[in-house]
Symmetry: C2
């Protein structure tokens, strides 16, 4: 719907905080043919874990598109955002990862690292995982998560080891400086970059985009403003017409990977239509007696 221009999704509204550091993203919009509009609030306060609460929080508001009346408030504390983000990662892997996945590389050890890995099981049989995080103790903790026991999870010494072993890599950090560099990326690799969803965040060195055979984004407009692709665009390494939307790949998979040697990148910044759809899915399941559309 989004890539067919069947939605109305204005630019993300963002608040930044200094003391303590944090941010809040408001994503909002609607599908032209639907009955609702969504306002989704997602916050990230990296110091939260030091006081025993998760960094992420948030909620979803669904409104009647014909009257403005609130339809439901989902106090999901960011869970649905985590889930729809991981779902987009799984879809990117489904369409873009090479046929044979040798090992899944996960960069970062937070909630997205967990959910991305969980939802990848719906699109690949590979259960070999290599994980890397700045904090090795968190990587160790991640590798011992009993909910992930269907995976064989190895902790990477460094990102050279991870990029050498893995041909499906998911980056899920809030890094402000590049973690992966062009010379590390093997042919036949697919990278899904999730973390850089704001100004000043970057996980992939811009040169990687020059090396990539296909650059996929969830939103051309959003990924021109922030995300890893925006850096490559600003540096003139790629042009806007190199960016193919994931929605276009779903409609025409031949726009994506055409052989197992290509390097593909999916840069996902998260679009309000995903929030709308997961909120509607929740109310449909929760209140099946209503005729939700």
């Amino acid at each position: 719907m989004y890539s067919r221009q069947e939605t109305v999704i204005p630019p993300v509204a963002i608040l930044h905080f200094d003391h303590p550091p944090g941010d809040c993203h408001i994503k909002y919009g609607y599908s032209k043919g639907g009955n609702y509009y969504i306002i989704k609030v997602a916050s990230g306060f990296p110091n939260n874990p030091s006081i025993g609460i998760p960094a992420g929080n948030g909620l979803m508001l669904l409104f009647d598109k014909t009257t403005g009346a609130p339809v439901c408030i989902l106090l999901d504390e960011g869970y649905l955002t985590d889930l729809r983000t991981a779902a987009a990662g799984a879809i990117a892997a489904k369409y873009l990862a090479p046929k044979h996945i040798s090992c899944i590389g996960i960069i970062g050890t937070g909630a997205q690292a967990y959910y991305q890995l969980c939802l990848l099981t719906s699109v690949t049989d590979c259960r070999e995982v290599m994980i890397w995080g700045r904090d090795r103790s968190k990587a160790l903790q991640f590798s011992k998560n009993p909910d992930l026991k269907s995976f064989r999870i190895e902790i990477a010494e460094d990102l050279d080891q991870l990029t050498a072993a893995c041909n499906l890599i998911v980056t899920t950090t809030s890094s402000s400086t590049p973690l992966l560099f062009a010379q590390q990326i093997q042919k036949g690799t697919h990278i899904t970059a999730i973390g850089a969803d704001d100004f000043g965040k970057q996980e992939l060195d811009a040169q990687i985009f020059k090396k990539a055979d296909r650059i996929i984004v969830d939103s051309r407009s959003q990924c021109s403003i922030f995300g890893d692709t925006a850096s490559a665009l600003r540096e003139g390494l790629i042009a806007l017409n190199h960016m193919i939307e994931l929605g276009s790949i779903i409609e025409n998979p031949s726009l994506g990977r055409t052989n197992n040697d290509q390097i593909t990148i999916a840069d996902l910044t998260g679009v309000a239509i995903q929030d709308l759809q997961i909120a509607v899915a929740v109310i449909r399941r929760s209140l099946p007696h209503n005729n939700w559309q």
Copy 2:
């Protein structure tokens, strides 16, 4: 706080709808010294009354500025927005209206017409009112509202009559074309313009701004984008440095009206700090056992 640059208030996020027509404004931000951030949702669907519900709706979300945790959700259906908008109108009249108010002119017959008039009682003893609306039957209904029985309310035949009789005029319509024109405005008049809070809305002909001795706005940045002042600015009739913020007038009233012959305009588009303050006022009153700041 706002005019002292002690707040962080990004541009308003707006959704527009076509079938049926409507809009939704998201105002959000925080005061640097405060504990909360606000996200306020206000919608207007002009066809709602035809199905028996008010045009306006909305809610307020208050979050902890140090963790992102939701503090409270006020399902006020737009009431608090109406109230804080009327409070700003009363403050504008307090600082800018001439000493002797002969008659209060209210243009429009909706919720803001009602609340503006109600809150003006806190800043003037004048109880003479003239009202004008496109729909005379609504003006009649307004004039008979028992909650307004402390006023003597006359229905104006036209806006010439209203502008001749009234030296404190409040415009509260969602008009997209100017209703008041420069030749109608008598010396010594103060106008508070409330209605034009979005692109394409306009209540005052831009020439009025050229005639005005003082132009007051709630937000220079917002009133440069939309509101009546923005039209005058775009037409080159005024410059940005003619626009004085209401917050600056409160700190230094001599920036406002200095004699009873001046024409003053206050163009109010509504700023998120007002939403933050009224939401905090509500939780302080509702939950007095907490130490809200």
